[in-house]
Symmetry: C2
Subunit: 207 residues, 2 copies
C-alpha cells in the first residue's frame, strides 16, 4: 500500500485526525488505538486504519498508534512541519475574528501579515499584527508568504485573489461567498458559511 497516491478524501480527514491527536496528546496520551481515535473524532475505526495505511505502518498490532510519531507524520504529509506563514486580507468583522482565532497555532500556522484598504484600520494593531495597506500586497513575495486568507466583501474578492496570485500566493482560503477564478497552479478552498447552513434543513426531520 505504501506506494499508492493518498485519496483526496483521506487528505480531507488528516487534519481532523491531527486535531484529535493533539488533543489526546494534551491529555497525556502516548498511544491510541483506531477505536479510541474514532470515538474522539467521529470517524469509523476501519476508515481510520485504511487512511493511515496509505502512508505506511505506524501502528503496533495489539496496542495502537504512537501519538507523537503519527502526529509528526501527518504534519509532514500535510506540509505543516515548516510553520507556514499566512497573510490575511480584509480586517472587517470576520477578518478580525479569524485573526483572533486560537486554533491556527496548534496546526503550526504563523499569521504573519494583515491587510486592508480602510485608512482608519491601517497601522492599527489587531492581535499583535499591524494592519498594512492592501496596496502593499506585492511585498508578500519578498517575505516568502505564499498562503492567504481572503475576508473581504464579495465585490472585492476576485480582485484581491488576482493581486494575491500576482504576489506569488499559491494557496487561498476564501471566505467570500463567491467562486473565484485562479490559475491552475493555485489552490483555493472556499468556506461559505451560508452554504453550510443551507444544507442543514434538508437533513432535519419534519418538526
Amino acid at each position: 500500500m505504501k506506494y499508492h497516491k493518498i485519496p483526496d478524501e483521506t487528505i480531507r480527514r488528516l487534519p481532523i485526525y491531527l486535531r484529535g491527536l493533539l488533543l489526546s496528546s494534551e491529555q497525556g496520551r502516548q498511544s491510541i488505538s483506531s477505536r479510541n481515535l474514532a470515538d474522539f473524532v467521529g470517524v469509523n475505526s476501519w476508515q481510520i486504519r485504511k487512511d493511515f495505511s496509505y502512508f505506511g505502518d505506524f501502528g503496533t498490532r495489539g496496542v495502537g498508534y504512537n501519538v507523537e510519531k503519527l502526529t509528526k507524520q501527518i504534519k509532514k504529509i500535510l506540509k505543516l512541519d515548516a510553520a507556514p506563514k499566512v497573510a490575511l486580507v480584509g480586517v472587517g468583522n470576520l477578518g478580525s475574528a479569524v485573526l483572533a482565532y486560537p486554533a491556527f497555532r496548534i496546526c503550526g500556522f504563523d499569521i504573519a501579515a494583515a491587510f486592508d484598504i480602510n485608512p482608519k484600520k491601517i497601522g492599527k494593531k489587531i492581535n499583535n499584527i499591524v494592519v498594512e495597506d492592501a496596496s502593499k500586497l506585492r511585498t508578500l513575495k519578498k517575505r516568502r508568504i505564499n498562503l492567504a486568507i481572503i475576508t473581504v466583501p464579495r465585490d472585492a474578492a476576485q480582485q484581491t485573489a488576482d493581486a494575491l496570485v500576482k504576489a506569488g500566493v499559491r494557496g487561498i482560503l476564501n471566505f467570500s461567498p463567491c467562486y473565484i477564478v485562479v490559475p491552475k497552479k493555485v489552490k483555493v478552498i472556499t468556506i461559505d458559511i451560508a452554504m453550510d447552513l443551507a444544507r442543514l434543513p434538508y437533513y432535519m426531520p419534519a418538526s
Copy 2:
C-alpha cells in the same frame, strides 16, 4: 430519474447553484444554460445537468434553465422556502461576525436569537438582535427555533450542544474546533477554519 434519492454530494452542491442563480438573477438573467452556470459556480456543466436530473425536468432543450423556477425548486428541496429561524450561541469575535454576515439573508434565513453567558454582553444589541442569557436556551422550543449556530469556545461546545438538543434543536452549525456528540436525529455540520487551512499546503506545489 425522478424517483431516485438525491445523492449527498448533489445536496452539497445545491446551495452553490442556488447562490449562482440568485447572483445571476440579480443581474437580470431569466434563463441560464448549464454551461453558463458552470462558469459562474465552478462546477462542470455535465455535473450540473446530472445533479438537476435527480429532481425533474427544469430545462428547455436548446435554451437552458428558467432561473426563477429552478431557484424555487432548489429552495424547496433544501427546505429553505419556510425562512428557517436560527439561533446563535456565543457572541464573541466569531459569533458577532457571523451575526453580521450578510449572506444568510439571500438564502432566506432569519437569525432570530443570540445567546451568551457573559453578563456584560447580555441585553446588548448586535445587528438588531438582543443578546439573551444562555440559561434561557430552553425557550427555543416555544419559539419554534430548531436550527442553531455554535460559536462558543471549544470547552463549552459539547455542553452547548447538549442544551440545544434538549431545547429541541435539530440542526447545528458548529464552529468550535472539536467533534461534538449528538443523538442521531440531530444533524451537525462542523466548520473548522484551521482544518481547511491545514489542507492547503498539501496542494501547493513546492515554492
